[in-house]
């Protein structure tokens, strides 16, 4: 049950419990977390026994998909489990003790669909009950396991018989099946599956992605950090540091020794601010949170905001800033038409959706109001009125602001 969806419903506002729950998770809380995976052993169709503790599968991950396949081709089913948390995927090799042999069939359709999806195979042997397997594509939760059909062999019968019900009612019988992995084309005899080629690739060099976001959304920000036109003669880097932060000190020293050209650097200290100007510290966090699906989470320090001469927040850096990246970014941030969507991501790729995300300053004002930052919201509106006024719901925003101001008055 994705409770992220539970907050929906009529008349539910920010203070409803489901929204509160969403806020908690976004701020880093756990909910039914650290639960270990479960395995139930089928005891001859009569009962199931919880054997999780001896399977080695009982990891405390936030598991989602489970996909089965005989990955190492030793006749038993191995397991891939995907997770919400890291690592996002784990592989578990089946080492079960005292295993029987197995028979695995890959089916190829001729008159039916070639994947033979929907084909049902029944294995019959003397002295034990029949087994039935069906080829599916998509089961469990967001999972697709192998299409090969796997039968454990609990019988030594040499005359086992396989009946295949191909989609479209054709029935095929295969006699005297033996352990192994076979491929059966519709209407033909089984052939032992041969691994055709060995896939090889040139190992890609390890490239550490730079830990920064060159923002896809261009958001005016100067009023929040009280940046004047004089401040913005060059781009400005606002760097938030902490006292007990090695990387912060390292960064500071590096800049003292070798100041980056073409921009102004302003170093802020979170301990000092929490005493002298807690409002600014909160606005810093709020600005960070605005871009990401998180609330008040501890951001890795140092964290730095790069503001362009136009007063727009253009990049967010986490950790020590690499000089080359910074120089490159300085060239980019003042430019006009760039593929900001793709530049903003840590890895490359293709988009199916055509719409390019753009900043909506109005949402930022909403965030300010949600956090009760009325003066900051007012000065932001004053500073960015020309942009905000183009948003059709701007009048409603002003109404909300005025209502909040009224509430504040004693």
């Amino acid at each position: 049950m994705p409770l992220g969806n539970a907050g929906i419903g009529p008349g539910l506002g920010n203070s409803n419990p489901a929204n509160q729950l969403q806020r908690m998770v976004r701020s880093g809380s756990s909910f039914s977390g650290n639960e270990s995976h479960v395995v139930f052993l089928n005891e001859k169709g009569e009962n199931f026994k919880d054997i999780s503790s001896i399977t080695g599968l009982d990891y405390d991950d936030d598991g989602r998909s489970v996909c089965m396949s005989d990955w190492d081709r030793d006749g038993d089913l191995d397991v891939w489990i995907s997770n919400r948390n890291g690592p996002q995927i784990r592989y578990f090799r089946n080492d079960s003790p005292n295993l029987n042999k197995s028979i695995i069939f890959s089916l190829v359709g001729k008159t039916c669909n070639r994947d033979a999806i929907g084909a049902r195979a029944v294995l019959r042997s003397k002295g034990s009950l029949s087994q039935m397997r069906t080829i599916t594509a998509g089961s469990g939760f967001l999972s697709q396991s192998t299409k090969a059909l796997h039968f454990g062999m609990d019988s030594n019968d040499k005359g086992m018989e396989l009946t295949i019900h191909w989609p479209g009612s054709e029935i095929q019988k295969v006699n005297n099946v033996r352990p192994g992995h076979y491929i059966i084309e519709q209407g033909s005899e089984p052939k032992t599956l041969k691994i055709k080629s060995s896939f090889k690739t040139n190992p890609t060099p390890k490239i550490e992605p730079v830990d920064r976001t060159l923002l896809a959304q261009v958001l005016p920000i100067k009023s929040i950090f009280s940046l004047t036109n004089n401040d913005l003669k060059t781009p400005i880097l606002l760097s938030m540091t902490r006292n007990d932060c090695e990387q912060c000190n390292y960064q500071k020293k590096a800049w003292e020794k070798n100041p980056p050209k073409g921009l102004t650097i302003k170093i802020l200290n979170s301990e000092k601010l929490s005493k002298n100007n807690p409002e600014l510290l909160e606005l810093f966090q709020l600005t960070y949170d605005h871009f990401y699906e998180v609330i008040s989470r501890q951001i890795p320090t140092p964290v730095s905001f790069l503001v362009s001469t136009k007063g727009n927040l253009r990049a967010i850096y986490r950790g020590v800033i690499d000089q080359n990246t910074l120089s490159e970014d300085l060239l980019r941030i003042e430019e006009g038409k760039l593929d900001l969507r793709n530049l903003s991501l840590p890895f490359g790729g293709i988009w199916a959706s055509k719409s390019n995300p753009t900043a909506r300053p109005l949402n930022f004002v909403e965030d300010l109001l949600d956090a009760g930052k009325l003066p900051a919201a007012e000065s932001y509106i004053a500073s960015e009125k020309n942009t905000l006024i183009q948003d059709e719901v701007f009048p409603m925003l002003l109404e909300r602001l005025n209502a909040l101001k009224k509430e504040r008055r004693p």
Partner: protein
């Protein structure tokens, strides 16, 4: 505080009702009324859990308090795990029932013990037991009595059945090191949410032989802003990134399938994204070519499945949605135990040559097509030669659509109630099998199990103003997974509690893991382990 989150959600459940009643009064936000007894008992449960952990940890040691050593059954357990290696000892207490009887607090709990002996034997023990407690003036709790361990499950094995070989298979792969080794919480702090990433997002995995070498490859779906990854199975079993172009979609992808859409002998790829179903043709195992995108009516996509429902030789695609366009609006009629404001699932009939027709309405699948559908699976449950469709719905009833021919046309009829597979609850996963080898397909449905949910919904004053039927429904939401057994053709029965405790379960599937011919059950679970470890 730990228990707050849990209380929050079960109060949410009761709130969902009052909100439904208050329809149209949007400006009046509901006030949360935390019943003092719920809060109090949840706080007590948390402390008693710690006390029980401490008490039962003594089973690992030589000196046991008399309250335990007086009971033969606990001593027997202690004997079994005697001399085990300290660093492998694990103990977990779950409290699933708490009841106040005047001054005495009655607690129902389950203990899971896990050890490895000096001889490298693995032992696991699960037991249920009652205990009684009394609150002291200083707020601490004193144990009055502890019952015998009951419903004992004992496991012993000379080795673990599975070995985590992730590092051996993926550890030196840069895509793993830089990207997949890090979880959602890492990326939430780094990718603008506007790209389609959020704290509750779910992304799937597909296995299939992309390059036709006889080995399954792996496709792992990602939230918006991170590229999906196609990883190839190399001859030595390791998984390496491919040079295949056209696979690295950045859109949120809930689910993917390797299927031979054009029946040309290789595995094409279909992706469920908010922009629709992306159809990618496999070009000689070297690249993927975009052959079109099937537009969908909603965006909160979840499961993607393929079948050939009309047996014409062309694969058809079915996609499910949780939220719908109404869900977030005031028009919504969200009801926790019977939500009908979900998205519209859609069936696309394959016509061959990459052409598809939308046939949801035409085939009768638009019946009650307004639930929060998280999972679906096709299976010929009545063995009449065509695939039927089971849909697991969150917040309510599941659906079984029987594939019929009506006047020469394919038509689906919803028969879940008729055959007994509605399994009202928080459906999250579907898997078909034949666990008892009687030749009739059975279905295992993933649901939510919650200790806190069981504690709270079983309290006497939980939803005190509501009907018993409603209380039962809500209890059902914390009960866990369901195995629905087809006893005779067209009639299913709930197998019962032995296969329920899959925790907060997601994929819950049949698979014969020990080659004995009997299909076992695997359950991946756990909701959200955030950076702040504050849950129960």
């Amino acid at each position: 505080m730990n228990f707050k989150a849990v209380i929050t959600i079960f109060i949410t459940l009761s709130c969902a009702i009052c909100c439904n009643k208050k329809k149209g009064q949007a400006e009046k936000e509901p006030k949360i009324k935390i019943q003092p007894t719920v809060e109090k008992s949840e706080a007590a449960a948390e402390i008693i859990k710690l006390n029980l952990s401490e008490l039962l940890s003594s089973l690992f040691t030589e000196s046991k308090p008399s309250i335990l050593s007086n009971l033969n059954e606990w001593t027997k357990i202690a004997e079994r795990i005697k001399g085990s290696i300290n660093e492998y000892q694990k103990l977990k207490i779950s409290i699933y029932g708490i009841r106040y009887d005047k001054e005495v607090i009655h607690v129902k709990a389950r203990v899971e013990l896990k050890v490895q002996t000096q001889t490298k034997k693995h032992i696991g023990i699960i037991a249920h037991f009652d205990s009684a407690w009394e609150e002291q003036d200083d707020g601490s709790f004193e144990i009055l009595s502890i019952g015998k361990p009951e419903k004992l499950t004992l496991n012993e094995s000379p080795q673990l059945w599975f070995a985590n070989q992730t590092n051996q298979i993926l550890g030196s792969e840069p895509v793993f090191q830089n990207h997949l080794s890090k979880g959602l919480d890492h990326w939430l702090l780094r990718i603008e949410s506007i790209h389609g990433i959020d704290a509750f997002i779910n992304n799937g995995v597909a296995l299939g032989d992309f390059n036709g070498d006889g080995l399954d490859d792996l496709y792992i779906c990602q939230p918006g802003g991170l590229p999906n990854r196609l990883l190839m199975h190399s001859a030595d079993g390791t998984l390496v990134s491919s040079n295949v172009t056209g696979s690295d979609y950045l859109d949120h992808t809930s689910s993917a399938l390797f299927v031979d859409i054009d029946n040309d002998g290789d595995q094409d790829l279909c992706l469920a994204t908010p922009s629709g179903i992306v159809l990618l043709e496999n070009d000689r195992g070297e690249k993927l070519m975009l052959r079109g995108t099937l537009q969908t009516d909603d965006v909160d996509c979840h499961s993607l499945t393929a079948t050939d429902y009309d047996l014409d030789g062309n694969l058809d695609l079915f996609i499910t949605f949780a939220l719908g366009s109404l869900s977030a609006t005031n028009e919504s009629s969200f009801q926790f135990d019977d939500a009908r404001d979900g998205g519209s699932n859609q069936l696309f009939k394959g016509n061959g040559k990459w052409s598809f027709s939308e046939v949801t309405d035409l085939t009768g699948l638009s019946t009650s097509n307004d639930r929060h559908s998280l999972a679906a699976s096709w299976h010929d449950f009545d063995l009449d030669g065509d695939p039927d469709l089971y849909i697991a719905n969150d917040y309510g009833f599941n659906q079984l659509f029987r594939n019929d021919i009506d006047n020469g046309k394919r038509s689906f009829k919803e028969i879940a109630e008729l055959v007994g597979v509605q399994d009202r609850g928080a459906g999250m996963s579907v898997s078909w099998g034949d666990y008892n080898r009687d030749g009739l397909p059975d279905v295992y449905v993933g649901n939510m199990y919650s200790n806190a949910g069981n504690r709270i919904t079983n309290m006497p004053d939980y939803l005190s103003e509501s009907t018993n039927a409603l209380k039962k429904n809500y209890r059902r939401f914390a009960k866990g997974n369901t195995l629905l057994v087809q006893n005779k053709k067209g009639s299913f029965q709930d197998f019962g509690p032995n296969v329920s405790m899959g925790r907060w379960a997601w994929s819950s599937i049949f698979a014969d893991i020990n080659n004995d011919g009997w299909e076992d059950l695997l359950v991946a679970n756990g909701y959200i382990s955030g950076p702040v470890q504050d849950d129960l």
